[in-house]
């Protein structure tokens, strides 16, 4: 299965935030869209980092003023991106091996989506369910 298959049912808009926004704004966007991470994009729409809810929580534990920090203060700069042609199981493996849960997806230099480990697990679960269902149907047909 390819990453493309997951992006196809997520609409086509990627929710991003600018690096010079406050963490307060970022938290509001995360809550509004009920998501776990935001791609941080510059004025040209190019991703410059990623900010996850975990980044915010970790900082909050040590600094009560976390909301007044800038997105660029907390974001991860070294972001691993994927392509729509990437295989989902490879992406899932890379995420677990390197301990991150969201991957921005680029196509010909343009940010086109983001996939989470949850998206991949759901898609793979549905694929396995489908395979089991198809196999069961065939076994039942054999019995007739």
């Amino acid at each position: 299965m390819k990453v493309r298959r997951i992006l196809a049912t997520k609409g086509m808009r990627v929710i991003t935030i600018a690096p010079d926004k406050k963490i307060r704004d970022a938290v509001a966007v995360l809550a509004e869209h009920n998501i776990g991470a935001l791609v941080v994009a510059d004025a040209a729409g190019q991703p410059v980092g990623i900010l996850s809810e975990r980044d915010v929580i970790r900082k909050a534990a040590e600094n009560e003023q976390v909301f007044d920090l800038f997105v660029s203060d907390l974001m991860t700069r070294d972001v691993i991106t994927g392509m729509p042609q990437d295989d989902t199981h490879s992406v899932a493996r890379t995420m677990t091996d390197r301990h991150f849960r969201h991957m921005p997806i680029m196509d010909e230099g343009r940010l086109i989506g983001i996939v989470s480990i949850g998206d991949i697990l759901k898609a793979e679960r549905d694929q396995y369910r489908g395979e089991i269902d198809t196999l069961e149907t065939q076994i039942m047909a054999d019995k007739d």
Binding site: A8, K10, G82, D86, S90, M103, D126, E131, I132, D133
Partner: protein, 467 residues
């Protein structure tokens, strides 16, 4: 807003496309107990089941047995079928809004992706999907002309359509005669001149999309030897490492089967099926008449992407193989439905978890949904459409609960059927289909075949007494 979803005022749903996803959508709608739902299913063809009837290969009858499940769904008194009715042509989406609270598009991926290489439009270069529709007796492809006087054929791609096409080309007439392949196709294949079939995969054995049973089957045909170039059967270091890492036993098994074909000497069978790996077509070359005579391919090397998957990259090394016929089976795309938002570069209806999305506002389009391949692109097996349809139905139920449904002027089953009959007097009901089905099966029985298909709409209409 009037109350809906009750016994006296059922929630009216139109499902466009009678393939597996259409039926699974109906099944999930009938299973929930919150609302009383009635379903009208449309298909542009008179007969139901979509790719189960017109895609699944005739020598894979067991896979087609899933239609028994769909038959049971169709027996629900709240289910009606309107075949031979094309939405966007006979009836518009706007007109559907007068009769239904919710509309679901499950029209599948009906067209193919192109290779975008020079020579692709030469004579002898064809989409594999057309050939599949032709041998399966699809009414639109009866007149399809495929030149089986050619000796060598290339099938580009390693998915299940590529496997099906290669197998049908390699089967003996005796093997095919016991299937429900279209009679005209059987006749033509009986006189086929094909001796060599190449299947071309751009990545290696470990990345091929086909399953182990599919690859095994290629080695078990009556009069065809399966063959793999020994050097292409060997895993490259990246694939080797990734396979060792993942302990993916299904892939290990698949690679073993592929390697068992490597360098296999001919056993004297009259056809040879060669699986090629790590190659991509770069050009189709024709003669003066514009007929393909050979194909230039480039050898690929795998590299690892940042995200960890192995992708092909062309090397400098080229090769030419003589072929007279090239089938491309590298992917499929949906066909846009008039007035429904479409995401052209991926060939799917723009959607979020099955809710159709307006590209301008990024908000859901009221009352419109999608499922199956036109929603997520072509992936998975038939059963994968069941959880896919469930996801869409969950959105539909949430929208019913919040009152986000259309307000049709005539949410009435009888009004709808009158309107449909007015627009398409020759529509097929499910009973018409059952009649046709019984005839096909009876005609097949006489010849020791699962069925003999009617292959034109006119014949179908006549057979059930509509003409």
């Amino acid at each position: 807003m009037s109350e809906y979803g009750t016994q006296s005022n059922p929630l009216r749903v139109a499902i466009i496309g009678a393939g597996p996803t259409g039926f699974y959508t109906a099944e999930h709608l009938f299973k929930q107990k919150e609302y009383v739902v009635s379903v009208d299913m449309f298909d542009r063809l008179p007969v139901p089941f979509g790719l189960v009837r017109y895609g699944v290969a005739p020598d894979h009858q067991k896979i087609k047995s899933v239609t028994a499940v769909y038959d049971r769904i169709a027996q629900n008194p709240a289910f009606r079928f309107f075949g031979n009715v094309q939405i966007g042509k006979d009836i518009t989406v706007a007109e559907l809004r007068d009769y239904y609270h919710q509309i679901v598009f499950t029209t599948g991926a009906q067209s193919d992706r192109r290779m975008n290489i020079p020579g692709e439009d030469l004579q002898g270069s064809l989409p594999a999907t057309d050939f599949v529709a032709w041998y399966n007796g699809h009414p639109d492809f009866r007149a399809y002309d495929v030149d089986l006087s050619q000796e060598s054929v290339a099938v580009v791609g390693v998915g299940n359509v590529a496997m099906d096409v290669a197998r049908i080309l390699c089967r003996t007439p005796e093997e095919l005669a016991v299937t429900d392949i279209a009679d005209y196709a059987l006749e033509k294949l009986r006189n086929s001149n094909v001796k060599n079939v190449y299947i071309l995969g751009r990545r290696g054995p470990a990345q091929a999309a086909f399953t182990t049973p599919e690859i095994k089957e290629l080695g078990e045909m009556q009069d065809t030897d399966a063959y793999v170039e020994p050097e292409e059967a060997v895993l490259d270091p990246l694939s080797e490492a990734s396979l060792a890492d993942s302990s993916d036993r299904a892939t290990v098994k698949k690679v073993e089967v592929i390697q068992s074909y490597a360098g296999r000497p001919s056993s004297g069978k009259s056809r040879r099926l060669t699986l090629r790996f790590l190659v991509s077509p770069v050009e189709l070359i024709g003669n003066d008449e514009g007929q393909i005579v050979k194909m230039r391919i480039v050898k690929n090397k795998l590299y690892k992407t940042d995200a960890g998957s192995l992708r092909p990259k062309a090397t400098e090394e080229m090769e030419e193989i003589p072929v007279g016929l090239v089938f491309r089976a590298i992917g499929y795309r949906g066909v846009p439905i008039p007035d429904v938002p479409f995401y052209d570069s991926w060939g799917v209806i723009l959607n979020k978890q099955g809710r159709v999305i307006d590209p301008e506002t990024q908000k859901p389009v009221l009352g419109e949904y999608t499922g199956g391949w036109i929603k997520r692109g072509p992936s998975g097996v038939i059963g994968t459409n069941k959880p896919d349809a469930l996801e869409t139905v969950q959105q539909m139920l949430a929208d019913m609960a919040s009152g986000q449904v259309l307000s049709p002027e005539c949410p009435d089953a009888q009004a709808a059927s009158h309107f449909i009959a007015e627009k398409q007097p020759d529509y097929f009901s499910y009973d018409d289909w059952l009649k046709l089905d019984a005839l096909e099966v009876a005609n097949g029985k006489a010849q020791g075949r699962p069925r003999v298909k009617f292959t034109s709409v006119a014949d179908m209409l006549t057979a059930v007494g509509k003409r």
